[in-house]
Amino acid sequence: MDQVLTIKKNAEAGIIDFLKFLLQKDEIGGVFTLRNISKQGKYDYGLITDPELLKDAIPLHPLMPVNGGKMLSNFSVVDEKIAAVIKPCELRSFIELVKRSQGKLENFLLISYTCGGCFGFKHSVDNNIDEMLPDYWKVVAKGTDYKDIRETCKACEYFIPINADITVSVAGEKDLNSISRLYLHSEQAKRMAEGFEGDISDEEFDRSQYEHIINKRKEFKVKLFDQIKIKDTGLDGMIDVFGKCIGCHACSRVCPICYCILCDFESSTYDYDSDMMQTELSRKGGVRLPPDTVLYQLGRLSHMSFSCIGCGQCTEVCPADIPVSVIFRKIGEKVAEIFDYVPGRNVEEEVPVTIFKEEEFTSLGED
């Protein structure tokens, strides 16, 4: 049975109070959260150990400067427990990283929330998030999507945290401005909350109340997937969509799943030496430069698409405006379906390419 901790403050202030309490009680050694780093509306993730610094914390701010899950894997060597306030997709990416031995769950108290989606980098650069915030929170409280959030977020049906120690009720929470509702799932969360001034009562977190939001998001997802028309045109479609790729590999840099220190595609394996270039030229009469950008995308799809949690960072950073995230999610879902795999669902579920069953696909290769 879950417990619900109710704090009579707005959702964000409630979380900050609770984090401060945990820090002062020495239950945790630090807090990982979004922070306001200047007065000009600049935000960043930070690790805080001084309770005083929590005054600048904005744990629910609708922006993902980097994927927090990727950042958490940096602290896996820290001995003390860290409370991390992250978005549900970041939590799922952290679970995927833990499966790949890039992090430890035991080091964290994972706090997440029912997410109303976040703004793209464009708004962060233009510095106009602050003026949209009041409207944003009104819309989120109603359980609908704000018009200017990222398309990836509008198509995300996994906005309810999976595997969190604490879930904060945000999207669809009517009393967002007056009440902070923290659902305590795990034993460690319940133990840590002891002694906190706030109402604690037994109440199961009800996932069914979000059904209508999930359905709406799924609808939008189908629409978004349909816009990617590679299927109809095959090879030409591939060139059409990925033809703009400049080969900067930024998408894999920001990808929480791509953790390899030396990516296969940045190694010399696929380099062209002058002989190869000559061969290509005499065969085709021309070579695209930089070469193999479509190979890179397809290769990355074959290496990690089944683990794509759809955080959308790759689309955000793409200088050529390629909808990388939509393509990866669309294909990733199809691939994951074969293995009945949902990325970030369960830390016990192993990554499809690291395991096998003897009795599967038995007819393949026998004809």
Binding site: K231, T233, M238, E280, R288, L298, S302
Partner: protein
């Protein structure tokens, strides 16, 4: 259809089974099509899916992987991993509308020289019917 078309089939053959099977076919004086360009690998799981994609984009009309029968892998489980990777790659090809029929995986043991001949002949015929890989002419890939 161009009747003179001779396909090129890049083939990754596992040293312990399929490559030896091909050897057996040769020493037994069995005939198999010269469309096969064999590349010996230590295990079928050595083949990175990107190798197949690279071959495909560089104009190989077919790409073939040959490995030991499931359960017979010289390294215990290599071919089971190959199997999953191959399934994933064909799914990606299908979803993107690329010709997944140009990819083939077959288990052929060192004793199955005749089976090697049969499999590659059939695959070669199929590719011949399909015609040239259109990627061959695509410069901007």
């Amino acid at each position: 259809m161009d009747t003179n078309f001779t396909p090129k089939i890049v083939s990754f053959l596992c040293k312990w089974c399929t490559y030896s099977g091909a050897d057996l076919a040769g020493t037994s004086r069995m005939k198999y099509p010269s469309t096969i360009l064999p590349i010996r690998v230590m295990c079928s799981s050595r083949v990175n899916p990107a190798f197949l994609i690279k071959s495909f984009f560089n104009g190989a009309d077919g790409v073939f992987i040959g490995g030991c029968h499931p359960g017979d892998c010289h390294y215990q489980s290599g071919n089971y991993h190959t199997r999953r990777r191959f399934i994933i790659l064909t799914k990606i090809f299908e979803t993107l509308g690329l010709e997944s029929e140009r990819l083939k995986l077959a288990w052929i043991s060192a004793a199955e020289g005749a089976r090697f001949v049969k499999v590659v002949t059939e695959f070669s015929e199929k590719i011949k019917k399909m015609g040239e890989n259109s990627a061959k002419k695509k410069i901007f890939i």
